[in-house]
Symmetry: C2
Subunit: 346 residues, 2 copies
């Protein structure tokens, strides 16, 4: 197996810098559209064979060093008892948002195999079909991020309803977060049992919180998840706090093997702050893939140079690749990361 990704996560020496791309299985790939056109987005998440197929597409086309399960962070919430819809323009919608004690208490903890078997099946199919070409990353959302969707009933501009619950009803907020955290721990343990070889926890909206609120209302739940997983597995755990530059003094204590970063912070500054305590992942602006080839090469080299002092570095974009991206640019980026990082080691 190509173990470059796993080694970098653990801070072991590698011949080159591994790369995978957030949303690498997705709308910028024509072959994804072919599979996706057969049904809705949620259908695809729930169809193990097809989900596995789109998961492997970027491994074939891009030559990335890891596959990431095709799914959505909101999938387990539906099975907690919240109907979920994906609307073409609005994105994810929970028509019955969770805003009361009764609603929180009505939430269940889904069983990975009984309730989310399609995810576990997808992982099992993938392990078989990948046949150890590259490791498979499983994932979940982080509790705060998941809570925003449940409380707001979907995406949000300023997270008013979520923050009001945090500030006006902290006990209720805490009960909801406890429940989401429990669900997430069980869900991720299920993924490990099914065969995930690394896990990423996506805290997509952590960056909307002041550091003091992140400390009180988001971080403790992340820490609880990582602690729980560390008791049962030693596969790499990655925590990605999107727009989390100023949360770093806190996030670096979470116990993950890898911290992921968006492009708003230089990786040299990250290394200055985390030292050799964790590996780092990131962090090129996804829109950098629109740079002409020569300037893309410069940009990639800059990121690699910035990350040079890291314990381990996994190259990635700072957020999901956008649908408008030319797949050939993604192919080029993977090649360049491999080539330049090999040269830098020589």
């Amino acid at each position: 197996m190509n173990t470059t990704f796993l080694k970098a996560c653990k801070g072991e020496k590698t011949d080159y810098t591994p790369i995978w791309i957030m949303r690498q299985a997705g709308r910028y790939l024509p072959e994804y559209h072919t599979v996706r056109s057969k049904g809705s987005f949620l259908d695809l998440c729930k169809s193990p064979e097809r989900a596995a197929e789109v998961t492997i597409q970027p491994v074939d086309r891009l030559g990335v060093d890891a596959a990431i399960l095709f799914s959505d962070i909101l999938v387990p919430l539906e099975k907690m008892g919240c109907p979920l819809e994906f609307q073409e323009k609005r994105g994810p919608v929970f028509p019955e948002p969770i805003r009361s004690k009764a609603a929180v208490e009505a939430l269940g903890i889904p069983d990975p195999e009984d309730d989310l078997g399609y995810v576990m099946d997808t992982i099992r199919i993938l392990r078989k079909e990948l046949a150890d070409r590259v490791p498979l990353i499983g994932f979940s959302g982080a509790p705060f991020t998941l809570a925003t969707y449940l409380i707001e009933g979907g995406s949000s501009k300023n997270y008013l309803t979520t923050k009001r619950m945090m500030f006006e009803e902290p006990t209720l907020y805490g009960q909801l977060l406890d429940k989401i955290t429990e669900c997430t721990i069980v869900y991720l343990k299920g993924q490990v049992a099914a065969g995930a070889q690394a896990l990423q926890v996506f805290d997509s909206w952590a960056g909307v919180l002041a550091p003091c609120d992140y400390r009180d209302f988001a971080y403790p739940y992340v820490k609880r998840i990582i602690d729980a997983l560390k008791q049962v597995t030693d596969i790499p755990l990655i925590y990605f706090a999107n727009q989390g530059a100023t949360l770093l003094p806190q996030t670096k204590q979470c116990g993950a093997d890898v911290l992921g970063f968006d492009w708003r912070i230089g990786l040299d500054e990250v290394v200055r702050q985390v030292g050799q305590s964790v590996s780092i992942q990131g962090n090129m602006d996804p829109l950098s893939l629109f740079l002409p080839a020569d300037r893309l090469e410069d940009r990639i080299r800059d990121v690699l140079i910035q990350a040079k002092g890291a314990r381990g570095h996994i190259f990635n974009l700072g957020h999901g690749i956008v649908p408008e991206t030319d797949p050939e640019k993604a192919v080029l980026a993977v090649k360049l990361v491999h080539k330049i990082s090999r040269e830098m080691r020589a």
Copy 2:
């Protein structure tokens, strides 16, 4: 005149910490709705008497230490030759986005008095009606932020079109930014001539740029504006780079008297980075105004303590106050800032 705000901007000693609130003249105030209901948002911006009236409302009700001109950062762009609409759901829309050399070349530089006389008249009326109770802040958008609206044709989720122009057509992008910068300099000079006693440059979307792109594609134009203004006036200049925590090593060199911050960075960290070189403004999460009174007091005290080592501190929210805010909470916040900061000096 209450000169506390002006003194803090320049780093002079004050008896207490001055405060004003971004969007203090706005939708959370019932008296604003009364005036606003007489016409569209743009109508209000273009009606000097009414714009002056809503500008003064928060001075009366909240007791803030500065008034800020009621207007919109997009107003001068319309007069560069881009039709502008405010749509109820979508917000600002430029139906004819600027994406070609011809479109850039067709843009004019509006004359402050001839083309934007309603803004200048509003300032003159305000100076008269405020009668030196508190200073009047004028403002503009920063060129990058303004450019995003022109290029995208309105608000944007990921600034794809803007960044594509930056990356794929840097010359065209530069020509557009040059023109917006020239317009902004002339516009702000006009505001100074009309009587503005401080100026704030809003870089609302600076935070979507990687530090290296901010350095190349946004900062130079801000610097040019500040340099130009410093040649003609010594009124305080405030630069607010929203979500700009990681841009601080660059923004602190811009020459402004004050740097504004959103809530994502602690002001103690800001002080650590800027030392005594500039005054600072900010930075409480607007949604903190939903905290119960006792915890709001704690939050305000924390911000004041964090800012203690600053050359000067102007208390503010980290972004605009939201329409759902209870005006009485804003009144309370102003009182608390005044009271606690007086106590801290004693």
